[in-house]
Amino acid sequence: MFIINHRGFFFWLTGLLLAAAIGAILVWGLPLGIDFTGGSLMQVSYQNGVPPLATIEKQIAVVPLGSVSVRASGTNAVSIRTRTLTETEHAAILAAISADAPATELSYTSVGPALGSQFANKALWAIFAVILVIVLYIAFAFRKVSRPVPSWGYGLTVVAMLAIDLIVPAGFFAAYAHFTGAEVDSLFIVALLALLGYVVNDIIVIFDRIREHLARNEKTGLRESFEDTIGKSISETMTRSINTALTVALALLALIYFGAEATRNFALVMLVGVVAGTFSSITRSAPLLIPLANWFAKK
């Protein structure tokens, strides 16, 4: 009942977290990678240590490219980001940076500008479509419980929660990217999508318990305030919520520490999202229903 009694506090905490996340996104921005903007990204390694980045920049300047960003990546490698290169320019850069010490190309990606904006579009639409379908499904699955909150109210609550749960990890990533130079790539979108699935499942478990209690109360004729029903449902499902989050977090930590460089940022975003999402579904999803119920009671 702790959460129900102090739901005002948790509302404020949510607001604060959300404000911090939105602030981070507004102040630092989400640096879009070449998957979205188009451009070329080259990762090269040097066997005998990386030369100073300024030297590499000077070497690249032989090829007229406009702005070029050169960053250290791991211990022995650098990544070079430019506008979309032609194959001739690509070869010219490789030759230029290999002038002093031979550079081995680890990976190279080049995305045309048109393709980049298409990817962003498609990803956004996919997220919207998923959210819409989730609302419809939940409204359907909870169709038998229409008091004190109509079944689509559960769907709407889930969507409000999802918006918060995606903004918080995005805000985290904005701050993380600001300090490490990471960029939003397609795996970041995949992480948000995976989080979407995880958090929905998390909220559904709690709502399912509310649904069960409401149905049982109706059958036995037990009169119980909606607050009590929700409070009971939350405390009964809390161990499960925490344990599931813990197991997923453990798997993600393994991925962060032992996994490939390519999936590290993905796992980090997921980890923040799972922790924030679990906290959010425990402390907020059900309490959000109470004001909604009060509002419907007044009508």
Binding site: E87, H90, T104, E105, L106, S107, Y108, T109, S110, G112, A114, L115, Q118, N121, K122, A123, W125, A126, V130, V133, I134, Y137, I138, A141, S186, L187, I189, V190, A191, L193, A194, G197, Y198, V200, N201, I204, V205, D208, R209, E212, R240, N243, T244, T247, V248, L250, A251, L252, L253, A254, L255, Y257, F258, G259, A260, E261, A262, T263, F266, M270
Partner: protein
């Protein structure tokens, strides 16, 4: 109970067989059931081309695209790649404009430059009729498309004919059309006797012969100003395949073999360690059900990996992410069931606690709606992502959907069968043994039996 024991033994045997299948096909380098690794893990080059269909009549586009695919496949094979993959994709943007793409995967190739050169240098061949165009007072030469393109070409060969230069045989390129091309060529030549039929190569007129008479039989000769070497190159390129439609490189990516190999070994290490930690946690916290969940999860993984091999699903970094999330879902289904069982054992709100076996039965029953709704929403989300997503999102979505389905099956059948095969049916009044089972079915790090 006997029924559950038979099922449990059967499930264990199936699990062992699946695990053996996964292991043995991976150990055998010649097996066709080895994991198919995406280019980001195995190393290689991916090139995405846009096919320019603006000059192709709408009825013939799919045919032209298939022809394009065939030509590129031939070129790729000449390039000498182990398992190349050439596929076409129709991408429709929301504005309603469709775009035809050609995606070329070249595993093991890391020299993009060479790959692009080998694929891109194919000429486009086209026959156009010369028509005078009046612009103001001057008359200019205009060209009218005849529809006869390199698509209708069956083969090209080099021959030396009596040229204008005395004493020297001029190199000529002999074109053989396929049956459709032959008909078209005959039609064009018979309808336009006396006119000039220009032969365009890569958008440039290279030869402008005048049609003397209708030409049946589907043969044409190009007598341009070639050197012998140029003519030979042209013949080779035309035989490799003239592109039916122009293509433009849109994106390319290459992953070196070291990066890919590092990604795999790191991924496998992380997977094993992550799985071990999760299993340990489950056993420590949930005791007997935890052990059963761990066994069920191993079976779940064996099943998933076998399915990935058999379909086969190409594993990429995003696919592995999907696998990890679906393992999380499978764990969650088990957690839900065990928490419920524990509650029933303890007795809800003043009610008398159930016997262990009853508790297991009811635990599964009560957890079912949450598992069903959770899995169904994820399933729907996964299908939408697969439907709408780009290839990297699809890689995630496909594994995720398979994983959710497998989790469904594993949670409600495997864990249930195993638990019911072990937990004995103690009569309600029997006190002996009940405490022990209660302990085994409870959870937490302190002793909850009270």
């Amino acid at each position: 109970m006997a029924r559950y024991r038979v099922s449990a033994v059967f499930a264990l045997i199936v699990g062992l067989l699946l695990a053996y299948f996964v292991w043995s096909t991976q150990a055998d380098p010649t097996s066709s059931y080895r994991f198919k690794l995406g280019l980001d893990l195995a190393g290689g080059t991916e090139l995405v081309y846009k096919a320019d269909m603006s000059q192709t009549p709408s009825g013939e586009q799919s045919e032209a695209l298939a022809a394009l695919q065939g030509v590129i496949e031939r070129r790729v094979n000449l390039f000498g790649v182990a398992e190349p993959l050439v596929q076409t994709e129709e991408a429709s943007s929301l504005s309603g404009i469709t775009e035809d793409r050609l995606i070329v995967d070249l595993p093991g190739v890391t020299d993009i430059n060479a790959a692009v050169a080998a694929l891109g240098e194919t000429p486009t061949l086209e026959f156009r009729l010369v028509t005078p165009v009046t612009v103001g007072t001057t008359t200019q030469t205009g060209y009218m498309s005849t529809g006869l393109t390199g698509r209708y070409l069956a083969s090209a060969s080099l021959q030396f004919g009596s040229g204008a230069t005395a004493g020297l045989a001029a190199p000529q390129v002999l074109l053989n059309f396929n049956s459709d091309g032959a008909k078209l060529f005959e039609k064009i030549t018979s309808e336009n006797v006396g006119q000039t039929l220009a032969i365009f190569l890569d958008g440039q007129p290279i030869s402008t012969p005048t049609i003397q008479e209708a030409i049946p039989g589907g043969q044409a000769t190009i007598t341009g100003q070639f050197t012998a070497t140029e003519a030979r190159d042209l013949v080779r390129n035309l035989n490799f395949g003239a592109l039916p439609v122009p293509i433009e490189l849109q994106s390319s990516s290459a992953v070196g073999p070291t990066l890919g190999a590092a990604a795999i070994s790191a991924g496998v290490t992380a997977g094993i360690i992550g799985f071990a930690i999760v299993a340990l946690f489950m056993i420590a916290w949930y005791r007997l059900p935890g052990v059963i969940a761990a066994v069920a999860l191993v079976e779940y993984l064996a099943f998933m990996l076998a399915v990935i091999k058999v379909i086969p699903v190409t594993l990429t970094a995003s696919g592995i992410a999907g696998l990890i999330i679906s393992v999380g879902m499978a764990v969650d289904a088990n957690v839900l069931i065990f928490e419920r069982t524990k509650e029933e054992l303890r007795g809800l709100s003043g009610q008398e606690g159930k016997t262990p076996r009853e508790a297991v039965h009811i635990g599964f029953e009560r957890a079912w709606p949450a598992i069903r709704d959770g899995h169904l929403t994820m399933l729907i989300s996964g299908v939408i992502l697969f439907w709408l997503g780009t290839s990297i999102v699809q890689g995630f979505a496909l594994v995720f959907v398979l994983g959710v389905l497998a989790s469904f099956i594993s949670a409600v059948s495997l864990s249930r069968v195993f638990l019911l095969a072990i937990v004995p049916d103690l009569p309600a009044q029997a006190e002996e043994g009940r405490g022990a089972w209660k302990f085994l079915l409870s959870s937490g790090f302190r002793s909850p039996v009270n």
